[in-house]
Structure formats: C-alpha cells, structure tokens
C-alpha cells in the first residue's frame, strides 16, 4: 500500500510539472472553449428571442432580419470557436508528448549505467499518448464546467430568479456527484488495469509457450484457459462498472429532473398558476429562453464527467513514466578527464556506492597501457561490470584520478568504446552498425575490418552484403558474430579505450576463440583493452590480470 502511495505521489508530481510547463497552452484551449460556450449561449438566447417575437408576437421584417443576422453571427462564431479549440488541443497534445519524451529520454540517459530494461521502450507508446487528453480535455473542462454554468446561471437569474434557484439548487449537489463519478471511474480504471494485465497475462503467457503446448498436444486446454480467464475478468469488471455507471446516472438524473422542473415551472407560470415573485410576471420570451438554456447549464458538467477517466488514465501513465521522467539533470561527476600524453588509462582511488547497497567498489587502483590487454577476473557480483561502467563514465563515482590519456588520437574524439555483454546491434543494415562511430568509413575499410575479425564470409552469405538488415528484425547474427561485429565497429573508430564486459559469455569454444582473436586485433591496433570476464580463456593472452573480490582489486 505504501509503495502504491509513493507511486501515486510521483505520478502527481510529474503531472504537476507538466501542467506548469503547459499552462499557456491549456489557457489557450480554455479561452477558445469559453468563446465557444459564450457563442452557444448567445445562439440559444437569440433563437428563443426569434421564436418568441414571431410565434405569438409581432415582429417587423427589419427586426426579424436583424435577429437572423445575429443568430448567424453567433453560429459562425461558435463553429470558429470549436475549430480553434480543437486545433489548440492538437498542439497541446503534441507539446505534452514532446516534453514528456524529452524528460523520459533524459532520464534514460542519466540511468545509462544502471541497465534500463528494454521493456522501458514501450513507454513511448500508450503511456506517452495518455498524457495529452488530461491536459487538453480534462484541465480546460475543469474551468469550463465552472465558467459556462456560472454565466448561464447569471443570465437565468437576471431573467427569472426562481428558475435560477432550480438550477442553483442542483449545483451544490454536482461536486458531490462528480466526486462519486470520479471515485467510481478511478476504481474501474484500476480494476481494469489489473484485469487487462491478467487476461493478457494468460493470453500472452500461453502464446509464449505455444511450442510446448503444441508438443504436448495441449492447445485445446490452453484455449479453454484463455476463455475462462477472460470470462472471469468480465464478471469482475461488470461489478465495478455497475457502481461507476450508477454514480454517473445520478448526475444524469439530476440534470434531467432539473430540466423537467424548469419546464413545468415555466409552463405553469405562463398559465398563471403561480402568483409569487417573477412567476406572476413570466413573459413568453423568458420562459422559452430559460427552458432552452437549462440543458446547456448541465452540458459542461456532463462533458467533464466523460473526460474524468482521462485523468485516471493519465495518472496511471504518469506513474509508469515518473521513474525516469522525474530524474534529475545529468550528474556532474561523469565528466571524462582526458589529456594528451602517452596513451594509457590510469585509475586511482576509485570508489562507487549504490544507494541501498552501500559501497560496491573500494579504492580501485590500476594503470593500463596502449597495446595491452587487462583482464579483470572475479566471481559474478564482485563488481566487474560496475568497474567497467564507472570507467566508461556511465555510473557516478568518486575518484581521485581517472584519466584516459590519448596519445596521437585527435583531441575531439574522446569516445570510449564500451561493449555490453550482449553488444548493441541496431535494427539497421550491417553497414550502419559498423559505421556507428565512424560515419565516414569507406567500403574498402569496412570489408577490411570484417576480414580482420574473421567475418569476411558474412559478405558472401548475406543476401545483400553490407546493406543487409541485421539485428532482431533482420538476418540474425549468432552471439559470436554479433560480438565480432561490435569489435569491428571499435576497430573502425578512433576510440582509444575499449572496455569489454564478458565478451565470451554463452559462446561455444570455437566462437569464443574467434572473439578472442578479434580482441587481440584491438590490442595489436594499440588500443587500451580492458576485459571483465570469468572465462579463463584470457589467462594466456592478458598483459596483466587482476582479481576483483568483494569490490576490491587484487593483482592476480
């Protein structure tokens, strides 16, 4: 429960920040909405006037044409108001998405060293789009639901205060019912979220395991499970929906009753049944105008109630986005120290602590020369990855001195090549993947590096050579091939320091040896190579070896 509250707090904080940033756009939408509302009220009043002065009245032709012109003006203004509002809604939706995406990606970038799960990428879909309606529909409608009914109330009061009282009497009830509706809607939404997860949970899980279901001839069973899960959620869903609909039905009921009461009051007054106050002096125009305005009084509230679920949806989306979208600006400690001199890496008194886990690296101290291979050995969890990431500048650390001295390399290129356990292969062509850090590499250079890492055969085997799309959606590369492509990428770039995290994990012996050969190419190319791995294959080729035990580095 506490975790849920904390999540809610974060979600509200994110919504509040966005609300502040978007306040001008929201004001714009609201103003167009007010214009539209005023035009609607004017239109209704003028139409009532037109009817009252003609049917049962005696209007001159001039009067009539003036009125018709006024009505036409009102309806054109209303259509313009509508168009204006919708256009600013579009702009506002895009702005909210743009801003949220900016914050989200900034947050991801800040967390680059703490492994952002790939499921995070799905946040750019529905959650991002769910924010828009909250700002462009719900927020302006909150104002409109106050301003427009107030305007109508003032007009009705000036026309006939008893009719005004009918409307006013229902007004204080409305916030109560709105809260009811809101609570109902929120409950439905929460329930719906959990349920959707459950149905799609079963559905997706059985789909994921389709292979084994087929193998054991159990697909019928799975189909029945999907059906049962869906039916079960249908029953639960209806339970909550019933409550939610009942509370909005109450709002509907009051608006319908108020309209009926006004109609009957006006009718009886016109018949002369009432002798009190304005009722005795009720005119034909007043009666008609009050009747026609009554539904408009409730309309903004009814609209608000239809937008109410946008708020709940946006809160849910914000809760998902908040984790990264609320993170602070980039940490200053990530600055990379580079200086000219002999090409080497020197790390001195490097300390890293994780919140909640305490210090994970203690006083790390080592130097690595260009053209050497440094092997960091150690059990899993000893801090090997953390060390590599801190050197790469992906994790905040305290270090007395952390320097990559770049010898002859151009000063503007300070890039550090960091290869994660599963190296990054973009869903793009092989060429794109190779030239990521060296956009100007020539065809000959590309072929050359592929040969250097033992991948020359790829050019023959891939249907369209370098232009073949690789990655998960294209031609698949095996684990060893992907790592060698990543190493070829480094060879093409001018990155002086190369950090490899478990480059042979999950590979068979032959593939691991091929990767090792490619790594040795990097060493021969005078790069500073640091490998974190528990694979003893590196023992024979490492220039120096260290063992990392519980966050401390020992010479092996």
């Amino acid at each position: 429960m506490k975790a849920v509250n904390e999540e809610l707090k974060q979600a509200r904080l994110l919504l509040a920040r966005l609300l502040f940033a978007l306040r001008n756009d929201i004001r714009m939408v609201t103003l167009w909405g007010v214009l539209q509302g005023v035009a609607t009220v004017a239109y209704v009043l003028l139409l009532a006037w037109l009817l009252s002065v003609t049917v049962g009245g005696t209007a001159s032709l001039a009067e009539l044409s003036a009125l018709v012109a006024a009505v036409l003006l009102a309806l054109v203004v209303r259509a313009i108001g509508f168009y204006g509002q919708e256009k600013s809604v579009l702009k506002l939706n895009s702005n909210s998405e743009r801003l949220a995406l900016q914050w989200l990606t900034q947050g991801w970038e800040n967390a680059a060293g703490y492994s952002v799960a790939s499921e995070q990428a799905s946040l750019v879909g529905e959650p991002l789009q769910a924010l828009g309606p909250y700002f462009s529909r719900f927020q302006p409608q909150l104002w409109l639901a106050v301003v427009i009914p107030l305007l109508i109330l003032m007009i009705v009061f000036s026309l006939d205060w008893i009719a005004g009282l009918f409307l006013l009497a229902s007004a204080p009830l409305i916030p109560i019912f709105m809260a009811l509706v809101g609570m109902g809607a929120e409950r439905v939404n929460q329930q719906h979220f959990a349920l959707m997860r459950r149905i799609s949970g079963i559905f997706i899980d059985r789909l994921r395991n389709l292979t084994v279901l087929k193998l054991f001839n159990q697909t019928e069973l799975a189909k029945n499970e999907v059906q049962r899960a869906s039916e079960k959620s249908q029953q639960l869903n209806m339970k909550t929906l019933r409550v939610a609909f009942l509370s909005s039905a109450v709002l509907e009921f009051f608006s319908a009753i108020a309209i009926a009461a006004v109609a009957i009051y006006v009718g009886f007054s016109l018949l002369g049944y009432y002798e009190v106050g304005p009722a005795s002096k009720m005119t034909w125009f007043v009666g008609l105008a009050v009747l026609m305005l009554a539904p408009e009084f409730f309309q903004p509230l009814r609209t608000l109630s239809t937008y109410y679920h946008d708020r709940a949806t946006a809160t849910g989306a914000a809760a998902e986005l908040a984790r990264y979208a609320l993170s602070e600006q980039p940490q200053a400690t990530l600055a990379k120290h580079t200086s000219k001199g002999a090409g080497n890496l020197s790390v001195r008194e490097l300390n890293v602590s994780y919140p909640g886990r305490g210090q994970v690296l203690h006083n790390i101290h080592f130097t690595a020369q260009a053209g050497s291979l440094t092997w960091l050995n150690g059990a899993s969890g000893a801090g090997k990855s953390t060390l590599l990431k801190s050197i790469a500048g992906l994790i905040a650390h305290e270090a007395q001195h952390l320097a990559v001295c770049i010898g002859a390399a151009p000063a503007e290129n300070e890039a550090i090549a960091y290869l994660a356990q599963t190296p990054f292969i973009a869903n793009a062509s092989l060429k794109h993947n190779l030239t990521l850090a060296a956009p100007s590499a020539s065809q000959a250079q590309l072929e050359n590096v592929l040969a250097e890492v033992g991948l020359a055969y790829l050019l023959q085997e891939l249907p369209t050579g370098l232009a073949t799309s690789v990655g998960t959606q294209g031609t698949g590369l095996s684990g060893g091939e992907a790592r060698r492509v990543a190493i070829a990428r480094v060879l093409l770039s001018s990155a002086q320091l190369v950090l490899l995290d478990e480059p042979t994990a999950g590979l068979d012996k032959a593939s691991a040896e091929e990767v090792l050969l490619a790594i040795q190419r990097l060493v021969a190319d005078q790069r500073i190579v640091v490998v974190a791995s528990h694979d003893t294959i590196f023992a024979a080729v490492a220039s120096q070896a260290f063992t990392l035990t519980e966050g401390r580095l020992y010479e092996a």
Binding site: E86, A112, V212, L215, L271, L394, F424, L477, S478
Partner: protein, 571 residues
C-alpha cells in the same frame, strides 16, 4: 469515384466480416444495448421537444391569451416520464453494452488465440516478442472500439434523426424534406468522408508509430554503449525527430477531422435556425399551431447531442480496419499445406520402415544456407549426438526432426510415416522433444508437469522430480507441487527450469526422443546424477541429442559433427 470505391468497401467489409460473424453468441445482448441506446436518445430529444411544446401551449392559453385550452397534466407527466426514461435508458445502455462488449472481447480473444495456435511456431520465434505482444493487445483494444464507439452511436444517431424527420413530416412534409436534406449533408460529411480520411491516414500513422517504437527500443537497448561512445545525444535527437514525424501525420489527420466536425457544428445550428424560420413562416400561414411551431426547431436543436460527435466516432473506422487487417494476417493459414507436401515427397522417395529418416536435408536460415544433404538416417533405438557451434541451425534442425515445424526442404519420416502428415495427437504419442528454451508456463509446478500427462498422479510427479534431482528442493517448498513458478519461470533458476522441463519430458512415453542441450545451466555433478537415474528410461528409445559440445552428453552410440553444411560422423 464511385467505381473506385465499390471494391474497396467490399474489401474492407471482408476484413471485418469474420469478427462480426463471431459476435453471434452475443447478438441478443448487443441488440438490447442498441435498444437502450435508442431509448435514451429518444427520451433526450423527447424531453426537450415536449417541454417546448408544453410551455408554448401554456403561454398561448395563459399570458398570450390566444384561447388555447391545455390539458396541463398529461404533458407534465410526459416530461417527468422522459426525464426518468432518459436516465434509466442511459444507465441500462451503458450496463448492457459494456457487458456485451466484454463478452465480445472474450469471443474475439479466443478466436484470435485459436487462430494463433494453428500457426507455425517459427513465426512466433522470428519476432520480437515485446513488439508482437504490443501489436496484439493494441489491435485487440482498437477492435473493441468497433461496437461501442462506432456501430452503436452512429446507428443511434441515424435512427433518431430519421425518427425526427418522420415526426416533422406529421406536421409538414416540406419542412421534413428540408430537415432531411440537412441531415443527409451532415451525415455525408461526418461519416463516409471521415471514414475515408481515417482509412487513408490510419495505415501511415501506424507505420510511423511503429518505426518510432522500434527506434525507441534500439535506443534503450543500446543505451549504455551509445552513451559511452558519446552517441547518445545523436540517437536521442533522431528519436525525437521520428516522434515529430509521427505526430505530424497524426495532426494532419486530426486537422481534417476537425474541419469536418466544425462543418457539422455549423450545419447543425444552421439547420435549427432554418427550421425555426420555416416554422415561423408556416405558423404565419396558419399551417402550424404556435406550440408546434416552437416545438419543431427545439426538437431539431436537441439532435445536436447525437450529431456533433459523429465525425469523431467515424474517425475510429480507419484504426479498426487496420487492426482487423493486422489480426487477420496474424491468423491467416500458412501458405504451405503440410498434407499436400507430404503426398508430393512420398512419391519420390523410398523410406526405410524403421527409425528416423530424413529425405533431403536442406536448411537455410534467413537466406543463409546452413545444411545441405541428400538424406540422413538413424536406425531405431540408436542414440545419436549432433554437435555444432552455436548459431548454425541446431535448434532449427531439432524443430524439424520433432515435427514441430515443417518445410518442403526437409522431409522427416518416423517408422516410415511422414511426420508432417501426423496430427498433433499422433505426433505427441510417439515423439517427445525438449527444446532449447525451458518454456515454463505461468502456473504451478504441478500445472507445468501436468502438461505432459493429463492423467498425472502425484506419485509419478514425485518420481520424475526424483530423477532430475529436484525432489528435495520441491519437498522443502511450503506449497510443494502447488508452488507458483511465476511468469516465464522467473521464480526458479535457469538450471531448475531446465530440470523441470526435463522432468516433463520424462513423464511421456515416446519412441523417439529429441533433446536440445538438455543440461544447460545444470552443474556437472547434478548432471551425472540425472544421467544415471534416467539411463534405464532412455534404453528402449531412439534418442537424438543436440549440443554444442560432446562432453556435456551421456554416452551415445554415434556422434555427428555439423561441418561444412554436412552432418559428419566422428569416430
């Protein structure tokens, strides 16, 4: 234009037809929902119309003293009745509709699942699961809009509009014709026009959105490396740029819709004004009584609740159609009919009556040739090991041998019978396959084991758990066999998951057993224990092991090494 449209409507309808057809079991509920929707809409219009009539009639007999006598009680009761039926109608409409739509969701989900389970599993594994799952749920959710946001409101608006025209015709045919003309224009603008625009944009909008998602996925997956390179800002701005492209397409579409909607707002109010003027004229001509002359324009005005949202509702069409098309593609029958193919190949080859025989063994993965051999034979009851480096199609070969997938280039026969021609039931009775992935179903340990045997007894379950050395572990679990293993087996370690999958295999009684990397994640000591315990069970069967290293397998009779696209026997 007309000529052009006809086939496309036909085509569109054919995309939705299977989904509509599946609705049959829910049709009574759906019809009731539409009925209540009509009742609520009719009451809303009636409430305003009757009120208008009532106060005008009152005015005429009261202050205007036009000598009209009114029965005040009947209309008063009518107004109250409409007020109540509007509320009740709305409530029941929502209740019944949502109930029906939830039922429809169930029907459609089961239908989709049914379609998907008939597909080749290769298709499923060739995709990025997260994107696939998103596409599935997204498309199902969009399809759900069809009834609630498209069919019901547009049908209701159409029926009530016609009813209003008919009502007006009771008093004046000419005026009714005028209103009908307006309504036809409004509907033409709001419905078919918007539908056309939405179809035009939905596809490109979905495409750009998917590209955006794909780029986001790339960005997140490569985040650490890109950041270290200093390339993260470039990628990030590319991602933002792709979002701009997507948003521009979406805005362009909605600008069209907004323009139509504004047109509808204008026309709707113009219609009310024109009706008012015409009524006034008719009243002056003495063709309409005063109360009627006021009631008619108010009735027309009351239609705005139904007419104004039409364009927004019709805009759903493009997305629904796109979703239906994508789902149809997902569950479309696979191009190659296994039965036909079998008839073709059987005529060409003579198949040994015993053991596993592969006539023609040609395997290419994503256009790369991996294996190319004329044939391959494993005599019955032989134990064979196939060794190959990772990524050269080992698992794909295992998928074929087990009959899980078929292709024309690999003809697999077991005991002289084409595996492709066997039903799932026949196949599962003679062949058992342990794939490389564990496939732990989101359920309990018991449920996972029971997949292999519907008549599983606790005794048998404990026996196989003992064979895979999981009995001690399972016994100390507080819930024993009823322990929840979590989504994708997240609550057990990789080695435990492997052994559960192995235990499941041991519950079957196959003639042919195919094991792909049976001991991944299992330490050597445990592995030896398991091998010793299952040896008797393996004895009477034909077994094919797949591994990247021979040393990890129990002693097998014959070893093959995949080299230069051939399965070569090693001494």
């Amino acid at each position: 234009m007309k000529h052009n449209l006809k086939p496309s409507w036909k085509y569109n309808w054919s995309q939705l037809k299977p989904w509509f057809k599946a609705l049959k079991p829910a049709r009574r509920k759906l019809a009731m929902g539409v009925g209540f929707s009509l009742l609520a809409a009719l009451s809303g219009v009636g409430l305003l119309a009757l009120s208008g009539w009532f106060i005008t009639a009152s005015a005429f007999s009261g202050i205007l003293a036009m000598g009209l006598m009114v029965n005040i009680y009947t209309p008063g009761a009518g107004i109250r009745l409409f007020a109540v039926t509007r509320t009740v109608g709305r409530y029941l409409e929502r209740l019944v509709q949502h109930d029906a739509v939830l039922k429809v969701q169930t029907i459609w989900r089961v239908k989709l699942f049914q379609g998907l389970i008939q597909r080749d599993v290769r298709w499923l594994h060739g995709q990025q699961t997260s994107l696939l799952i998103h596409r599935l749920t997204h498309n199902l959710n969009v399809l759900d809009l069809l009834w609630l946001r498209f069919v019901t409101p547009i049908a209701t608006a159409g029926v009530i509009s016609l009813a209003v025209v008919g009502f007006i015709a009771l008093w004046s045919g000419g005026l009714a014709l005028l209103v009908l003309l307006f309504l036809v224009t409004i509907f033409a603008l709001a419905v078919p026009q918007t539908m056309r625009v939405s179809v035009r944009f939905a596809q490109i909008e979905n495409q750009t959105e998917e590209q955006f998602r794909q780029q986001a996925l790339d960005y997140v997956e490569g985040l650490a490396e890109l950041t270290a390179w200093g390339l993260s800002p470039t990628y990030r701005s590319q991602l933002m740029q792709q979002n701009e492209v997507f948003m521009a397409v979406r805005e362009q579409r909605l600008r069209h819709i907004t323009a139509y909607q504004s047109g509808v707002v204008l026309l709707q109010q113009l219609m009310a004004l024109v009706t008012a003027l015409a009524s006034i004229y008719l009243w002056q001509q003495g063709q309409l009584s005063g109360p009627i002359a006021v009631m008619l324009p108010i009735t027309v005005l009351a239609l705005s609740d139904l007419v104004l949202p039409l364009a927004t509702q019709a805009n759903v069409w493009g997305d629904v159609l796109h979703a239906a098309k994508q789902l149809n593609q997902l569950i479309a029958p696979t191009a190659v009919e296994p039965k036909q193919q079998q008839a073709l190949t059987q005529a060409q080859v003579s198949v040994p009556a015993k053991g596993l025989y592969v006539a023609q063994l040609y395997l290419s993965q994503r256009q790369r040739v991996l294996i190319d051999m004329p044939n391959w034979h494993v005599p019955a009851q032989q134990h064979v090991a196939i060794c190959a480096a990772s990524g050269v199609g080992k698992s794909s070969l295992a998928d074929h041998f087990s009959g899980l997938v078929h292709s024309q280039a690999i003809g697999v026969y077991w005991q002289g019978k084409a595996v492709a021609a066997m039903s799932d039931k026949q196949r599962s009775e003679c062949i058992t396959y342990l794939p490389q992935r564990n496939f732990i179903v989101n359920g309990t340990l018991w449920e996972n084991l029971r997949l292999a045997d519907n008549n599983l007894t606790a005794e048998a379950a404990w026996q196989v758990l003992g064979w895979v050395a999981l009995d001690k572990w399972a016994m100390q679990l507080p819930q024993g066999l009823d322990t929840w293993l979590g989504e994708q087996g997240e609550l057990v370690s990789g080695g435990q998951g492997r052994r559960i999958a192995l235990a499941r295999v041991l519950l079957t009684n196959p003639q042919l057993l195919i094991l792909d990397e049976p001991f991944t994640g299992v330490d050597a000591a445990t592995q030896n224990i398991i091998i010793n315990r299952i040896q008797p069970w393996l004895m009477q069967r034909t077994v094919i092991y797949f591994a990247h290293d021979v040393s990890v397998l129990p002693g097998s009779h014959v070893k093959y090494w995949l080299d230069e696209k051939q399965l070569k026997r090693t001494p």
